[in-house]
Amino acid sequence: VTAPAALADVKILDLMWAIAGPGATRMLADYGATVVRVESSQRFDVCRTVGPFVELPPGPESSVLFHNLNAGKLMLTLDLAKPEARDVMLDLVRWADVVTESFTPKTMRAWGLDYEALRAVRPDVIMLSTCLMGQTGPLADYAGFGNLAAAVTGFYEICGWPDRDPAGPFGAYTDYIAPRFNAVMILAALDHRRRTGEGQHIDLAQAEAAMHFLAPAILDQTVNARTQGRIGNRDPHAAPHGVYPAAGADRWVAIAVTDDGEFAALADVLGRPELAADARFATTAARLAHQEALDEIVAAWTRARDAAESERLLQARRVPASVVQSSRELCDDPQLAHRGHVVKLAHPTAGTTPIEGSRFVLSRTPARVADTAPTLGRDNQYVLETILGYDAERIAALAVAGVLA
């Protein structure tokens, strides 16, 4: 007998958009939460315009990114600029355990849907507000995306080469960190309310949460007044430590040797066992002092073979190594396949779309990933009739007034 879904009793009214917010409620939907996503076709979620796309030219339902972030949710299209929409929203607030939004603070105020307004109809409401810089302070209403928060918090400055401009991590980096903190706060607030009856307003600034991923460098600043700069792929504790060229165009293998045992194994695999006894390379400190020479030796070996072959030979001796994997390799990766990481789901117009499965396994109540993101308006009838109990007349009036757009 399968246990009921872990979060089968959790109801979320989700006004979030882009990545940091929807990524959190997607995790909860995987484990059975009922998530009603509210979106206006007058104001598309930005992710609908960002690839990869399952069809070209892309339409609003073509984005794999959007499906990946919104799989398993219900969708109500609602134009919040219309006054009648507010009544629908407040009815959904009465229904929901949690209300989530990721606009700048002025937006919810303008709609008459700030925390005080929500609390007036639902005194124990849990409201999660997550924006780039937080609900207060001079930058509260600064709208932006995760590349900007990654720049302003310091990720860009320490990603790249010392002799070059910052390269920065890929994309909207802090958007990939924040969903975990958002989901944690929703779950912790639910536990707090269950025990105390008390709801709350959560103010989660994407930048502030993401800074914890830089905490060692930030403490280096506050404790030692030392400002870290770019060091490429170097590491203070390991050598060789880098990304080495492999046979073929733009093919790479990452190799990181963390102790003398791993170095001896590497030397064996390279067919140069004498290197382990070479005074220049015998200890981590010595290897760190002679990294350039070491990098040349390693690169000469990696360049002569396929990246996957290097990974296989090195891992067979437990030397940390991996192909720097491409999308194709990740989709074909036997380990990710074993974990069910790439899931192909029926798509309304494009046949199928790939999305990612849950990134963890719960042994007794596993994730269920069965549906793509809902198309715009797909669940209007279900939400209004079944969840809110509206009659046909009221639903028709909303449609005629253009509220369900």
């Binding site: 001079p138 994309g171 944690v184 502030e208 506050t222 437990r318 074993h338 963890f360």
Partner: protein, 413 residues
């Protein structure tokens, strides 16, 4: 918010953040380390620069709001004590190699037999089983195996990582979510379960779904310094400023186009482009580029114009304009600039944490969220090695002081 709950944190440097998140939220987190201290205490940087197990800033970064005990889990007596601790815990978090704790008799099945409500969280590089489950790993290797690495760096050099290790943080934060999902279910069923978190999968989320591109269609992102390349188009996120760099989200379409329009209005107002350039269809600009109606060279000319403009302004001027004009620009900040941030000061973000063992107090990054109920408090600085041995073994587990002394003498504690 989680104050009723006890957490045993057995993690290595691969999982420290998970317990800290639960501890920040009020849980009673006990960090269990081998006698002499965790290997994570040997990670740089160090307060004052000198390596010392109680001065690792990597340790400080991820172990506040925890108490600390030492215990040798490779001895029979150590395992027996761990079983006693686990019998009264709500969560156990570990990040050893898959199966390592099972061999010690401390795997999920063994501990759940005595405490069926235990939520047992395992964080491992590739997951608990599968063809790569036994692979050797590091941060760099996991960033390669999970996808983000290939997308970052200069196109004429190898892909490059963020130099503060990121991979295990993604997984540890993910693990906190997973633990609380299992905890929510436990309120109904009374039963715990085994939670299996994969670093590789957690890290894959940092590709913004582009790991799926090969299954979706022909367009793929490739790396370029300070941006990304999609097919024939080079998107640029890092731009020059007079005194450094800024990030600009220069994108098009229904969401981004209006920001780009406002940016180009400013560029025009300051005399850096003509009206025709300002008035391009920034909403439909992607379509124009992909259809060929707008040559890629013209897009490159626009970018060169913008770069000439931004290079005349300071980071501060560009950021101020972003706020005043509604633009997507932010400075590429150093940690020194971050610590001086007016926004963080206005929000009273920084927390002063006293380290009496050093006779000093230090600024820590502040709460990851603000709440109207039960706010995050920094109740405890990171523990020194074995700091709470007496408090927990004698005070809470009921060992006699001489029993603890004997365990210490035998180097089990």
């Amino acid at each position: 918010m989680l104050s009723p709950y006890r957490v045993l944190d057995l993690t290595t440097e691969r999982g420290l953040l998970c317990g800290q998140i639960l501890g920040d939220l009020g849980a009673d987190v006990v960090k269990v380390e081998p006698p002499g201290g965790s290997a994570a205490r040997r990670l740089a940087p160090f307060a004052g620069g000198e390596p010392h197990p109680d001065r690792s800033l990597t340790w400080w970064a991820f172990n506040r709001n925890k108490r600390g005990i030492t215990l040798d889990l490779d001895t029979d007596d150590g395992r027996a004590l761990m079983r006693r601790l686990a019998a009264r815990a709500d969560f156990l978090i570990e990040s050893d190699a898959p199966g390592a704790h099972a061999v010690r008799g401390l795997g999920y099945e063994a501990l759940a037999a005595a405490n069926p409500a235990l939520v047992y969280v395992s964080i491992s590089p590739f997951g608990q089983d599968g063809p790569k489950a036994g692979y050797a790993d590091t941060d760099l290797v996991m960033m390669a195996a999970g996808g983000p690495l290939l997308l970052a760096g200069d196109e004429d050099r190898p892909p490059v990582r963020v130099s503060v290790p990121q991979a295990y943080l993604h997984a540890a934060a993910e693990a906190a979510v997973a633990a609380l999902i299992a905890h929510h279910e436990r309120q109904r069923s009374g039963r715990g379960q085994h939670v299996d978190v994969s670093v590789q999968q957690a890290v894959a989320f940092a590709t913004q779904s582009t790991i799926l591109a090969a299954e979706a269609g022909p367009l793929a992102f490739t790396r370029i310094a300070g941006g990304a390349r999609l097919g024939p188009l080079t998107g640029r996120f890092v731009w020059p400023a007079r005194d450094g760099h800024v990030s600009i989200t220069l994108l098009f379409g229904s969401s981004f186009g209006k920001f780009t329009r406002r940016l180009m209005e400013w560029v025009h107002a300051e005399g850096f482009c003509d009206a025709a350039t300002r008035d391009k269809d920034w909403i439909g600009y992607f379509d124009l580029l992909f259809s060929g109606a707008e040559p890629v060279e013209e897009y490159e000319r626009v970018k060169a114009t913008l770069a000439r403009f931004t290079a005349t302004k300071t980071k501060r001027e560009l950021f101020a304009a972003a706020q005043a004009r509604g633009l997507l620009i932010a400075p590429v900040a150093t940690t020194a600039e971050l610590v001086a941030s007016e926004q963080l000061a206005a929000r009273d973000y920084w927390r002063t944490v006293a380290h009496p063992e050093l006779g000093r107090a230090f600024l820590y990054p502040g709460p990851f969220a603000r709440t109207t109920a039960a706010p995050i408090a920094y109740r405890r600085r990171p523990p020194t090695v074995g700091e709470h041995n007496e408090e927990i073994y004698v005070g809470e587990l009921g060992l006699a002081p001489e029993e603890l002394a004997a365990l210490r003498a035998r180097r089990i504690v």
